[in-house]
Symmetry: C2
Subunit: 188 residues, 2 copies
DNA sequence: CCAAAACCTGAAGCTTTCTTCACATTGTGG
DNA sequence: CCACAATGTGAAGAAAGCTTCAGGTTTTGG
């Protein structure tokens, strides 16, 4: 489909030349369509980048929701590990795309996008944690916020450092350790 | 000083209008100088943004180094709390600037900048942790990497969610808890 | 006080990019 | 096979930005 080709081309250009070089002409060329076609699907360049990110975040949220449902009722330890695993995998299996998108959102008015995503995902994780067989939080939403902020933040920062495979494995392991240790502390 | 005015103007424009609207004309205008003057100090626009970030990261690294020296020889618990406190404060005391810079680096070829910063700071924190009165790591550099990645990542992610003051306080507290709990696990 | 250096000015050239629109091509239902 | 809708084309207009440079102003040091 044309739209799909345009999205793919956008990612390619973003990867190859960065956000500065992301021009309508270049995207259209790489997508194998004319500029006019692009404007039939997106009112302007910003809308294109916005749509690309929305699409990506939607897919990511959906994956997290699946994990949360799968883990419903499980003990907290496996739960948090599954969440880390899902998020980490989703971000790293196409690391190049993740990186490209991280850069492209920076110059968007992305607050609405980010918050909608955060709200949706928070709802899923909060519900999951509440359902844990050993759930007994003093403050569920606080614990949820701390966990997800630490996890998502760590993954993102791991991207900015060029870590070796070994370092990534170790870091992921340690993140799990930290989250489990934290949960042991905050459950009554 | 002129250069300082230009830097300040760059931040202002970045804050008010975002990276898209960061034009040489606008920066010069806001700085109260002519465009020509700007080009006497920076060979081009990118160099300006680069220099701004370099300057900021240098100051941040210096602050972290001070904390690391102050904490030399202390126990691990206070150490990691001091690191969190320093980093968090440095990032939040001028949250607007932090946000503006996070956005501006995105479209820089920032790898060199980021890695130089990471190396410098990692050296300081690794040395600090090694000096701890109760230091006894199986793998010092691994533990260091895990701690700093989690801490810096969490702070960054906290920025993207619009957290209330209460949530920030709680999150910081929980981050400290997590780091201490982690340290208790990895020290022999 | 003066000459040289340092610093500043901002209009204009050049380039690049976004966006439009009149027209061409392709697909579809009868 | 035809008429009509949907889709695609790409040259050109319009706007905006980066950078230069010839010349003005201020500072410095003797």
């Amino acid at each position: 489909m044309t739209v799909e080709a345009i999205f793919e081309a956008t990612i390619q250009v973003l990867l190859r030349d960065g956000m500065n070089a992301l021009t309508t002409t270049r995207v259209a060329e790489r997508a194998g369509v004319s500029v006019g076609t692009m404007y039939q699907y997106f009112p302007n360049k910003q809308a294109l980048v916005y749509a690309l990110n929305a699409r990506y975040l939607d897919a990511l949220a959906a994956r997290i929701e699946v994990t949360c449902q799968e883990q419903s009722g499980a003990p907290l330890g496996p739960m948090v590990e599954a969440l880390i695993e899902t998020y980490w995998t989703a971000k790293t299996e196409r690391a190049d795309i993740t990186q490209a998108l991280y850069r492209s959102v920076a110059e968007l008015n992305n607050d609405a996008l980010i918050h909608a995503f955060a709200d949706r995902v928070d709802r899923a994780t909060t519900e999951m944690f509440s359902s844990a067989s050993d759930a007994n939080f003093a403050d569920t939403s606080r614990t949820n916020l701390s966990l997800v902020t630490v996890i998502y933040g760590t993954v993102r920062n791991a991207f900015e450092r060029a870590l070796s495979e070994r370092e990534v494995t170790d870091l992921k392991q340690d993140l799990k350790t930290m989250c489990r240790a934290y949960l042991a502390n905050v459950t009554v």
